[in-house]
Amino acid sequence: MEIRNILILAGKETRESLKNRWFVLYTVSFSVLAVLILSIAPGRNEITGISGYGRTAASLINLVLLFVPLIALITGSISISGERENGTLQYLLSHPVTKAEVFAGKFLGILVPICFSISLGFGLAGIGVALRGGSGDAAEFVLTALLSWLLAASLLSVGFVVSVFSRRASKAIGVAVFLWLLIIVLGDLGIMGTAVAMDLGIKQVFALALLNPAEVFKIASVLVLSPRFEILGPVGVYAVRTFGREGVIFILLSVMAVWTVIPFACAFLTFSIWRREES
């Protein structure tokens, strides 16, 4: 496995991503919406000294939760399946590169532009907030962007799993959109329903919430963004009291890392085995 080959492949993938209409559409809409949300936010509050950013952070988190998983899942899901459908995957693999290099190159080549798009949206919104006099703790702002990168990485991995199992890109997109719905709405809905129906306690609800990478991102963002973890209710207070603020953030980051590494490994193993059978 050569780093140089991975970088060349990643570069090729990135250039293709930048030409991808989905990608451009998502980047532009994410940036526009981020700027809009933060520009209707109130400026520094004279009485409380709270900046506008703190209170609108929730809307920004919501925006990230809707956009980032969607773009990561969809671009991930068409990464391999698209090339397989076009026949370019065979062509690519006929070059003197290993499957590992192709896989890693593709992952990097898609992840990097997604992360830069997130950075673009946050940056534009941040300029807006700063010009209107909101102080918005700069470090927290950057940390939220970094958390969004982690969210993108984990869902891109999941997208790759979809991709290696799909022969056609259209089918892969369908599965990706369903997964998006599952992760963003249906999964949480299921946990809430279970919690009410089975009268689950604090620990169980916390454990179940940890299953969902999007929910993990949200909890981490709230903890990073504001000192008010009690906004998360008894479960949040329980978690912070039991593990400490840093402890909880560590757990949440670990969950996101697991959600990145395991699907990535699964996708890669499947990719290498599958190709061998085909040829």
Binding site: R15, N45, G133, A138, V235
Partner: protein, 464 residues
């Protein structure tokens, strides 16, 4: 009630007695200075007769003082009395005394001994003015001393864990006391025990447990105070006839409490023109009013940017909320344990409250919406009934549930409350919502680099 009555009698008795001794300043003045001839305050007190004035020059006096006769102690050029970290620094035991212009520091730190900066014991009608207290366990402790005046003092307690702190100001059977324009921080409570007809005005209380705490103290009033960054802004308990106006309760966020203002077994409250902002819970109502013929009147307040605007314990009745502004609270009204509110009043004479989440219109321009405001959110009903689910707040699922309950009215919950005459304009004072600040250079630089990096990257990728 007997106790209350007795304390009244006591207050009247002491006032009459102290009135005689406080008025005429007939005594002589004794001068204390580090350079002598009298270099100790205790020595001066020993040689003084009741009614004398003791004038203390600037310098540090390492002593603990007991004022056992009616005297007026005046600090000139900010003298410091240092208790050396044990016991109570100044103890005043004579009615009609005065203590002005001192810095008092270094009390002991034993809660069981109630080590205090300035202790008034049976010293009604005393004036404590313009002192600075630092590193004290209890700040000013007013015991059995009615009609005392505490004005313009700064109190800063010991910066230890909350459980080891003492009260900034404690009133104990001291009716008719006035606490005005003090600046109090890093303490446990400002607490009023068994004292009526007190006035608390223009104080700032920060970084404590209860910014203001009434216990079994009737007919009291507080106004124009600021309670900021405490566990609880004000916790009013077991009292009747409390009025408060124009106070600010801001950012009180203790874990498990975090009330801007909380009522417990509290009757005949009148609360107007207060700003209750950015607390965990704006107003918390527990078993209030307690008496069956009592109503609490809460009007013209701004309850804004709290996690929960007003939180009701189950079956709370007879609270009248009129012409308040409920602005952008994450949850405007919570009913603990779920369900609907009954027996409270949300409008009178055709005028209700302003609700920032009101979806309606004012056709005839009278400032009152034509459609009633109803608080009915499926997600809120869920988290009221099962608080654990609050962890899903801000998640898209919360919005999805609201959308679903609008689309399928079958699963729409019963409204928690209905305001028949919602106001369409808030009473929020100008400057509360927005105010320009300086652009943050750090944020601009970081944001610019967050924008510039991807653009450079895109440009580079295009070229190569």
């Amino acid at each position: 009630m007997t106790k209350c009555f007795l304390s009244y009698l006591y207050a009247i008795a002491v006032l009459t007695l102290s009135g005689a001794s406080v008025v005429p300043a007939f005594g002589t003045t004794i001068r204390v200075s580090p350079d002598g001839p009298v270099s100790s305050i205790a020595e001066a007190i020993n040689s003084a007769s009741p009614g004398d004035t003791i004038s203390v020059e600037g310098g540090v006096y390492h002593e603990r003082i007991v004022v056992d006769k009616t005297l007026s102690l005046t600090g000139v050029n900010n003298p410091v009395i240092d208790g050396g970290g044990t016991g109570t620094v100044i103890e005043i035991k004579a009615p009609g005394s005065a203590l002005k212009g001192f810095t008092v520091r270094g009390s002991g730190s034993h809660l069981s001994n109630e080590d205090t900066g300035i202790l008034l014991d049976t010293a009604g009608g005393t004036l404590i003015e313009g002192n600075r207290l630092t590193d004290v366990l209890f700040g000013i402790y007013i015991k059995n001393s009615p009609h005392t005046v505490i004005r313009g003092n700064t109190i800063r307690g010991k910066d230890v864990q909350m459980t080891e702190r003492g009260d900034g100001i404690r009133l104990w059977y001291s009716s008719g006391t006035k606490i005005i324009d003090n600046d109090i921080s890093v303490i446990r409570d400002l607490v009023i025990w068994w004292s009526s007809d007190t006035l608390i005005k223009g104080n700032v209380v920060e970084e404590g447990r209860y910014g203001l705490h009434y216990m079994s103290s009737n007919h009291n009033k507080f106004e124009d105070n600021v309670f900021r960054n405490n566990y609880v802004g004000g916790f009013l308990m077991y009292s009747v006839d409390i009025q408060f106006y124009r106070n600010r309760f801001v950012n009180n966020r203790g874990v498990g409490t975090g009330y801007g203002i909380g009522f417990k077994d509290l009757d005949d409250v009148v609360a107007s023109d207060n700003l209750i902002i950015d607390n965990r819970v704006g107003i918390f109502l527990d078993n209030s009013p307690y008496l069956v013929d009592s109503w609490n009147k809460i009007s013209d307040n701004v309850i804004a940017f709290n996690d929960i605007g007003v939180s009701f314990m189950p079956s709370i009745r007879r609270n009248a909320f009129h012409e308040n502004s409920f602005v952008d609270n994450d949850e405007q009204v919570e009913v603990r344990g779920g369900g609907q509110l009954a027996g409270n009043e949300w409008s009178s004479g055709g005028s209700g409250n302003y609700w920032s989440d009101y979806i309606g219109y004012d056709e005839n321009g009278d400032g009152i919406g034509e459609i009633p405001y109803t608080s009915e959110s499926l997600f809120e009903s869920l988290i009221d009934a099962k608080p654990e689910l609050r962890i899903f707040v801000f998640s898209p699922v919360a919005k999805a549930i609201e959308l679903a309950s609008r689309a399928f009215p079958v699963i729409k919950p019963e409204p928690k409350l209905t305001d028949e005459y919602p106001r369409v304009r808030s009473g929020i004072p100008p400057g509360l919502r927005t105010g320009g600040g300086e652009p943050s250079a750090k944020l601009i630089i970081l944001s610019l680099s967050m924008v510039a990096l991807p653009l450079i990257f895109y440009a580079y990728m295009r070229k190569s």
